[in-house]
């Protein structure tokens, strides 16, 4: 059948500037460019273009311009171009539509409706250039009361992890991302004193030296898991759900299971890596308790155990159960959380925004008097340092970032991760492409990002007259809502601007 899709993007080439060096052709992994030797011109297959902008950035003469397509159907608010294209793809294949990255639909972004307070006159603001600012964050269960023996404060009995800044890299598996990207995350987290998360794709042996900066995942596929894997890491995370695709599993197709990935996941080369939707040993909170304690036993009670769920309608009740089941850390992944591959319909329609889920969970745990039993990590849709600050004021202990880290490595959010053809070398296993991420430069970019955000968070603290991130945690008086309805303010637990 005729492919009846209009190109999504137009490619405009300034022929006066083009020197036919064919860089665009070599850089494009989506087969957009060709060279017509007879006429000494470059030819375009616009319909393949995904607007990753690799070619425009690398064109030595700036001859290329990729822009939104001017091809148009008759404008229609209901039958948009996206809606029509999706239907045509489904009619052609009979399959589930896939996509990558987080939800791109214009659901209300609550970060943009929350404003932060500052000190004026009555309490002085603090200059972070001059005065010490504490961003150090400790994750894990906190004791119900302080224990003092002979006048000395005793260390708590619970294992914990320490971060130099409340920002960690969220779970992205080796398989979903390239080895060089994975290594960059590991090195950057280690250098900066924070954590990265291996996802459920195993953990290459040669990266175990970064164990003090590593969180390992135990997900439903149980790939790459053994006792060494748990004990080499600083924390173990049970992954129940992911914001981009709550309630469904994962699927790494066999063609991506290369020799090294097979070694890391401990599955045969070329075989499909299917993560079932649920953990088949977890059908209830009691079962979750069983796995949490199995992992505590497996690590001799030396490591905190976290449980990650996607933010869904009943998140507060579920979180309450998770805390009682023994989770030391709860991770909430919101509606806009990223993914390497997810069915589009789930990514865009299932789950709730992290802002609301986070506030609701924090409120619930406080009301029940168990908030100190577990730390709370927010993820899915954090874009900048002020989002981090707002998340912490809403009740988070720390955040996970995924997309911002990938953007630091070169990503342009073209949402084609699931094709495995990432032209920026990030979400691909093709050796030719994955070389495009240099792990040393990547590490530098990521530590720069962490440094920049940390400096900005210190500025935000200082302007509010606060010198420790600990004092912002759950301090919702630092926030005011704007353009929000009463129920939204109530859920967020904040007042409206001017109130």
């Amino acid at each position: 059948m005729l492919t009846a899709l209009l190109p999504e993007f137009n490619i405009e080439r300034d022929e006066d500037r083009c020197i036919q060096c064919r860089v665009c052709e070599r850089q494009c992994s989506f087969d957009v460019y060709g060279y017509d030797a007879d006429h000494n011109v470059m030819v375009h297959r616009e319909e393949n273009c995904v607007a990753c902008q690799r070619c425009t950035v690398l064109c030595p003469t700036n001859a290329l311009l990729i822009c939104e397509s001017r091809y148009a159907y008759k404008p229609n608010a209901n039958w948009t171009r996206e809606a029509i294209s999706d239907l045509k793809k489904q009619a052609e294949t009979g399959g589930v539509l896939l996509t990558g990255m987080g939800c791109d639909k214009p659901h209300k972004n609550y970060w943009d409706h929350i404003l932060i307070n500052a000190s004026q006159v009555t309490n002085p603001s603090i200059d972070p250039l001059r005065e010490p600012m504490e961003l150090r964050t400790i994750l894990g269960r906190k004791p119900d009361k302080l224990r003092i023996v002979n006048g000395k404060l005793q260390a708590p009995d619970y294992p914990s992890i320490e971060l130099s800044t409340p920002i960690m890299f969220g779970a992205m598996s080796y398989g979903a991302i390239s080895y060089n990207s994975f290594k960059s995350l590991a090195q950057a987290a280690y250098e900066f004193g924070t954590m990265f998360n291996t996802g459920e794709g195993g953990w290459p042996k040669e990266l175990r030296k970064y164990g003090s900066a590593t969180i390992v995942q135990c997900a439903s596929g149980r790939f790459g898991i053994d006792l060494e894997y748990f004990n080499d890491a600083s924390m173990v995370e049970i992954k129940i759900g992911q914001g981009a695709k709550p309630g469904i599993g994962g699927h790494l197709p066999g063609e991506k299971v290369s020799e090294h990935i097979s070694l890391t996941r401990m599955i045969p080369e070329g075989s499909d890596a299917i993560s079932p939707a649920p953990h088949h040993d977890i059908y209830s909170i009691e079962d979750l308790q069983m796995l949490i304690h199995a992992l505590k036993e497996a690590t001799d009670y030396q490591k905190p155990i976290s449980v990650k769920i996607s933010a869904v309608h009943n998140a507060p009740a579920i979180a309450s159960g998770m805390v009682r089941a023994g989770a030391d850390i709860i991770v909430l992944d919101g509606l806009r959380g990223g993914t390497g591959a997810a069915p589009k319909t789930l990514r865009d329609n299932v789950g709730i925004p992290i802002e609301l889920a986070l506030a609701a969970v924090d409120t619930r745990l406080r009301n029940e008097g168990v908030r100190n039993w577990a730390s709370l990590v927010a993820s899915g849709g954090i874009r900048n340092s002020s989002d981090v600050f707002k998340a912490i004021a809403l009740g988070a202990d720390a955040v996970y970032i995924g997309t911002p880290a990938l953007i630091a490595l070169g990503c342009t959010v073209c949402q084609k991760c699931y094709t495995g053809k990432c032209a920026w070398g990030i979400t691909t296993q093709d050796p030719y492409l994955s070389k495009r991420v240099n792990p040393e430069i990547g590490t530098q970019a990521l530590t720069n990002l962490l440094r920049a955000w940390s400096l900005e968070i210190k500025e935000l603290l200082g302007c509010g007259g606060i010198n420790s991130i600990e004092s912002v945690r759950g301090n919702r008086l630092q926030l005011r809502g704007i353009g929000l309805e009463d129920w939204e303010l109530e859920t967020l637990g904040i007042r409206g601007a001017g109130q």
Binding site: L163, G193, I225, L227, M266, I274, A294
Partner: protein, 283 residues
């Protein structure tokens, strides 16, 4: 950065503490008897671990009454030389993530036995509950009697590790779902002449690797759409002979071995495709 360095220093001092604790005072041949009555699983497993760190290799747990995670907390010990005998009823997740030890249970086992087990052996002289061998990557499990639901889900194999489960009785639904490797042998030995009270369904749904060998009849409507039914090959028959032999030896059933091993009675259930969901997606 300073935090990473501080973290490492702490880890180092923890390691030293452990080294000085490890005075070897037990001889490896000695069976150490532990009365587990009223002992919480955390204390029991820590005791076994502490003893193992001091050279003990053989443990006899008496009056076991639901203590979970036996055999799990042994990372860092000479775990592949450890043998544990369990008298009574161990709790769930026995041998979860286990990597080497051998556990023999004189009684029934509960749920999730051998969960994500990597290496070692479990022998159960009774029946076992649900989710036996979930995500198992290596080692052997022998169950004299029946097993519950969701057994052998997502078993996988890798290089020299081929997990094997032998079940003397029968199984319930969702058996070997998502199976990616390894082998399960079901002998149905309690039902000769009499069909089981309840048939199991959804056998091997989503299966994309490994083999299930069933002695006795399996009807087409009991198995998942991704599963094909055939006769075992000669090479596979050798494997069946070996592991059924092990089963009979473990439970003193050598006299019945020849009767159990009639080749014409065995069926092999295996994946029709290693890519069961290849056509599931558009682009």
């Amino acid at each position: 950065m300073s935090t990473a360095a501080a973290r490492e220093r702490r880890a180092e001092s923890r390691g030293q503490e452990r080294k000085t604790r490890g005075k070897k005072i037990y001889s490896p041949g000695e069976w150490i008897k532990i009365n587990t009555r009223g002992v919480h699983h955390k204390d029991l497993n820590r005791e076994i671990r502490a003893l193992a760190e001091r050279g003990a290799r053989k443990f006899e747990l008496r009056k076991v009454y639901g203590q979970r995670y036996i055999g799990t907390n042994l990372w860092g010990t000479e775990r592949d030389k450890i043998k544990i005998r369990v008298y009574g009823t161990p709790g769930s997740d026995m041998g979860a993530f286990m990597d080497g030890p051998e556990i023999e249970v004189f009684g029934n086992a509960q749920d999730a036995t051998g969960n994500t087990m990597n290496c070692g052996k479990i022998i159960i002289h009774g029946s076992a509950g649900d989710v036996l061998g979930y995500g198992m990557r290596g080692g052997e499990i022998y169950v004299r009697g029946n097993v519950g639901y969701r057994v052998g889900i997502h078993m996988k194999e890798y290089m020299d590790k081929v997990p094997t489960i032998v079940i003397g009785g029968t199984m319930q639904d969702f058996f070997g779902e998502y199976m990616a490797g390894g082998r399960i042998i079901v002998l149905n030995k309690f039902f000769e002449g009499n069909p089981p009270i309840r048939q199991s369904y959804f056998i091997g749904t989503g299966m994309h690797g490994g083999n299930i060998f069933v002695r006795g009849d399996v009807e087409a409507h009991q198995i998942g759409a991704e599963v094909g039914m055939e006769e075992p090959t000669d090479a596979e028959w050798k494997i069946i002979e070996k592991y059924v032999g092990n089963y009979c030896k473990a439970f003193g059933l050598e006299a019945r071995q020849a009767k159990l091993l009639r080749r014409e009675k065995f069926r092999r259930l295996s994946a029709k495709s290693t890519r069961p969901y290849g056509r599931h997606y558009a682009y």
